[in-house]
C-alpha cells in the first residue's frame, strides 16, 4: 500500500479513498450495532453500577455503595462458588468425553455420520425442554436412578438433596456435548495419516502416538473449545432456571443458585438494576481474567501446523 512513487501518488490516493468509503459503508450495520448494542450498553451499565436504579425513577448516584453491598451479600460468594463448582466439572468432562467419542468415531469410518447426527440431537433441543426432560430423568425414582440401581447403586435425590443438585446439573450439561464432538472429529481428520504410520514403524505405542501426534495437532481445537465452554458455563442459566426457579416453592434453590440466575433475580424480580449492573461487571472481569489466563497458557501448549516454532 505504501509503495507509491511520487507520480502515482494522487491517483492511488483517490482509489484508496474509494475503497475506504465503500469499506465503511459495508461496515455501517456493525458499527451502528457495536455503538448502540455493545459499547454504549457497556458504558451505561458501568455508570449504572454506581447508582440506585429501578427503571421507574431516574438513576441516583450512590458511588461504590453497590460494590460494598456485594461484599456483605452472602449470596454473591454462594452463587460464585456454585458456578465455579459447575464449571470445574462441566468443562473438563465435556473436553474428555468429547475427545474420546471423536476418536472412536474416527475409527469406524463411514458409519461415523449416523453417530454424529445422534450425538448432536441434544444440541438442537431448546434449553427449557432439556431442563424439563431432566426433571423427569433426575427424579428420585427416575430413569437415571433406575440405571444406577442396576449396578447396585442407591441413587441420590438429584432434585432436592443440596449435595446432589449440582452434580445432577453437571450430568445434564454433559448430555449436550455433541457440538464439541463434531469440532474434535473435524480436527482429528486433519491430522496427517503418514505421521501415525511413521510412528508405528518407530514402534511408538498408542499412548505415545496420542501424546506426540494427536494432541499437538488438535491443540488448537481443544483451546477453542475450552475457552468457549468455560465462558458459556460461567453464564449457565436457562436449563437450571427452568428446573429450580420461577415456581412457587424453592426446593434445591440454594444449591442451584448460579451467578447469572442471581443477577437475573436482582434485576428483574427485585428491580435493583444498579446492583445487577455491578454484578454484571464483576462477572465480566472474572471472565476476562480467566480467558486471559487461558490464552497465556495456550501460548505454551498450542501447536500450529506449519508454524516454524
Amino acid at each position: 500500500m505504501a509503495t507509491t512513487g511520487a507520480t502515482a501518488a494522487p491517483k492511488r490516493r483517490w482509489r484508496v479513498s474509494e475503497q475506504t468509503r465503500w469499506g465503511y459503508i459495508f461496515l455501517l450495520p456493525w458499527i451502528i450495532g457495536f455503538v448502540v448494542f455493545t459499547a454504549g450498553p457497556m458504558l451505561a451499565s458501568f455508570y449504572l453500577s454506581f447508582t440506585k436504579y429501578n427503571v421507574i425513577r431516574a438513576p441516583q448516584f450512590i458511588g461504590l455503595r453497590n460494590y460494598e453491598l456485594m461484599l456483605d451479600d452472602r449470596r454473591i460468594p454462594l452463587s460464585l462458588l456454585n458456578t465455579a463448582f459447575y464449571a470445574l466439572l462441566h468443562v473438563p468432562g465435556v473436553i474428555i468425553f468429547s475427545l474420546l467419542l471423536a476418536m472412536l468415531l474416527l475409527r469406524v469410518g463411514r458409519s461415523s455420520g449416523a453417530f454424529r447426527t445422534a450425538f448432536y440431537l441434544p444440541n438442537v433441543t431448546p434449553a427449557v425442554a432439556v431442563g424439563t426432560l431432566f426433571l423427569l430423568l433426575l427424579a428420585g425414582n427416575g430413569l437415571i436412578n433406575q440405571v444406577l440401581g442396576v449396578f447396585g447403586i442407591d441413587g441420590p435425590n438429584w432434585l432436592t438433596d443440596p449435595t446432589w443438585v449440582k452434580p445432577g446439573i453437571v450430568l445434564m450439561s454433559w448430555w449436550t456435548l455433541g457440538a464439541t464432538v463434531v469440532i474434535y472429529f473435524a480436527a482429528l481428520r486433519n491430522v496427517p495419516v503418514e505421521l501415525y504410520e511413521a510412528a508405528q514403524i518407530d514402534g511408538a505405542n498408542a499412548w505415545a502416538q496420542f501424546k506426540s501426534i494427536t494432541l499437538p495437532y488438535i491443540s488448537g481445537a481443544i483451546f477453542f473449545t475450552v475457552i468457549v465452554n468455560t465462558i458459556a458455563s460461567l453464564q449457565i442459566f436457562a436449563e437450571v432456571y427452568t428446573m429450580f426457579f420461577g415456581g412457587k416453592s424453592g426446593a434445591g434453590q440454594e444449591a442451584a443458585l448460579f451467578y447469572t440466575i442471581y443477577l437475573f433475580q436482582k434485576a428483574f424480580a427485585d428491580l435493583d438494576f444498579g446492583y445487577a449492573s455491578a454484578m454484571g461487571w464483576l462477572l465480566f472481569v472474572i471472565i476476562l481474567v480467566i480467558t486471559l489466563i487461558q490464552v497465556r497458557l495456550s501460548n505454551r501448549f498450542v501447536f500450529y501446523a506449519g508454524d516454524s516454532r
Binding site: T20, A238, A267, F284
Partner: protein, 316 residues
C-alpha cells in the same frame, strides 16, 4: 488384502523384489493376518461403545415421547410404555395453553432473526474481506473481542434500551430480532473466512465489466457463498427457536410468548417439585411440541449444521 495375496500361486514380481530387498516383509505378512482379526475385534468394540453412547443421547427423547403419552399418575413411572397411550394429552395441552399461537410467534421471530442476521452479517463480512481501508484490523479486532463479551453483562443495558424505545412486550417482537439488523460478531467472523477464500480476480473481472460494489457483492460474492449463508441462517434459526432469556425478559402477555417461554410457564404451573399442580404429562406433551420442529429442521439441514460447527471450531 494380505489374504488375497497369500492365496494366489505365484506372487507378483514386485512382491518378490520387495521380499528380496527387505527380509522382514515376510514376517509382516503373518503379523498382519493376526492384526486384521484383532482389527475386526476392536472395530466391533468401538461400534459397541458408540452404540451405547448413541443410546445415552437418543433414549431420553424416546423417554420424553413415552412420558407424554402416560396418565397423570404414571408420568414418573419407570415403565417405558404404558397402555393405553394417552394421545389426548396433546389435545389437552393445546386446549389449556395457546400453544398454536406460541408456535406462530416462535416461527415468526425465528425467521425474522435468521434473515436479518444473515444479510447484515454478510454485508459486514464482505466489507472486512474485500475492502482495504484504515483501521480495518483494529475494527476487526473489536469484532473478535466483542465475541468474547458475556451476554449476561449486556442483558440489563439491552433491556433498558428496548424499554426506553417502548418496545418491551411489543406485538412486533422487536427486541427479539431487531438487534440482528446490525450483524453479529460471530457470523461476521465466520463469513469473512468464506469471502476471503474466493479468488480476488472474480471481483476484479466484475469491476472491469462495470459492476458497482453493492452489485458485485450481491451477484458475485453472495451466490458463491450460498452454503455458508445457509449455515448462518440455520444456526440463528436454531438459536432463536431455543432461546429462553430474551422472551423471558421482554415478553409479558401470554399471547406474545414464544414456545420456550410458554413451556417454562407450563413447567411453573404444573411441576410438582416446585409446588405446581401435578399434570406433568401435559408438560411432557408440550416439550415434545417445542422440541420436534427443530429436530425436523436439523434432519433437513444436518449437513449445514455439522459442517458449520466443524468449520467454526477448526478455524477458531
Amino acid at each position: 488384502m494380505t489374504i488375497q495375496q497369500g492365496v494366489g500361486g505365484a506372487p507378483p514380481p514386485s512382491t518378490v523384489a520387495a521380499a528380496a530387498t527387505a527380509a522382514p516383509a515376510v514376517r509382516t505378512r503373518t503379523e498382519e493376518r493376526a492384526s486384521s482379526s484383532n482389527r475386526l475385534l476392536s472395530r466391533i468394540l468401538y461400534i459397541g461403545v458408540l452404540v451405547l453412547a448413541t443410546l445415552i443421547f437418543v433414549f431420553p427423547f424416546l423417554w420424553l415421547v413415552s412420558a407424554s403419552l402416560k396418565t397423570r399418575a404414571d408420568v414418573f413411572s419407570n415403565e417405558f410404555i404404558i397402555l393405553p397411550l394417552q394421545f389426548h394429552n396433546y389435545s389437552d395441552v393445546l386446549a389449556i395453553a395457546p400453544m398454536a399461537r406460541w408456535f406462530v410467534n416462535s416461527a415468526l421471530v425465528g425467521v425474522l432473526a435468521a434473515v436479518t442476521v444473515t444479510i447484515s452479517s454478510a454485508i459486514v463480512a464482505f466489507g472486512f474481506a474485500y475492502f482495504r481501508f484504515p483501521f480495518r484490523n483494529v475494527l476487526f479486532g473489536l469484532v473478535l473481542a466483542s465475541m468474547m463479551l458475556p451476554g449476561a453483562v449486556l442483558m440489563i443495558p439491552n433491556f433498558l434500551i428496548w424499554n426506553a424505545l417502548g418496545q418491551v412486550n411489543s406485538p412486533l417482537f422487536t427486541p427479539l430480532w431487531a438487534g440482528n439488523l446490525f450483524a453479529s460478531a460471530f457470523y461476521v467472523f465466520l463469513l469473512r473466512q468464506f469471502f476471503l477464500g474466493l479468488p480476488r480476480e472474480l471481483f476484479e473481472a466484475a469491476r472491469v465489466d462495470g459492476a458497482s460494489y453493492p452489485r458485485m457483492f450481491w451477484s458475485v460474492a453472495v451466490p458463491l457463498t450460498r452454503a455458508a449463508l445457509i449455515v448462518v441462517f440455520i444456526f440463528e434459526l436454531k438459536a432463536s427457536w431455543t432461546d429462553l432469556v430474551k422472551p423471558l425478559i421482554f415478553m409479558r402477555d401470554i399471547t406474545l410468548y414464544t414456545l420456550p417461554l410458554g413451556l417454562k410457564s407450563l413447567v411453573d404451573r404444573f411441576n410438582p417439585t416446585t409446588g405446581g399442580e401435578g399434570e406433568f404429562q401435559l408438560v411432557m406433551a408440550a416439550s415434545v411440541i417445542v422440541t420436534l420442529p427443530m429436530i425436523l429442521v436439523f434432519f433437513l439441514g444436518q449437513r449445514y449444521f455439522l459442517e458449520g460447527i466443524a468449520t467454526t471450531g477448526s478455524k477458531g
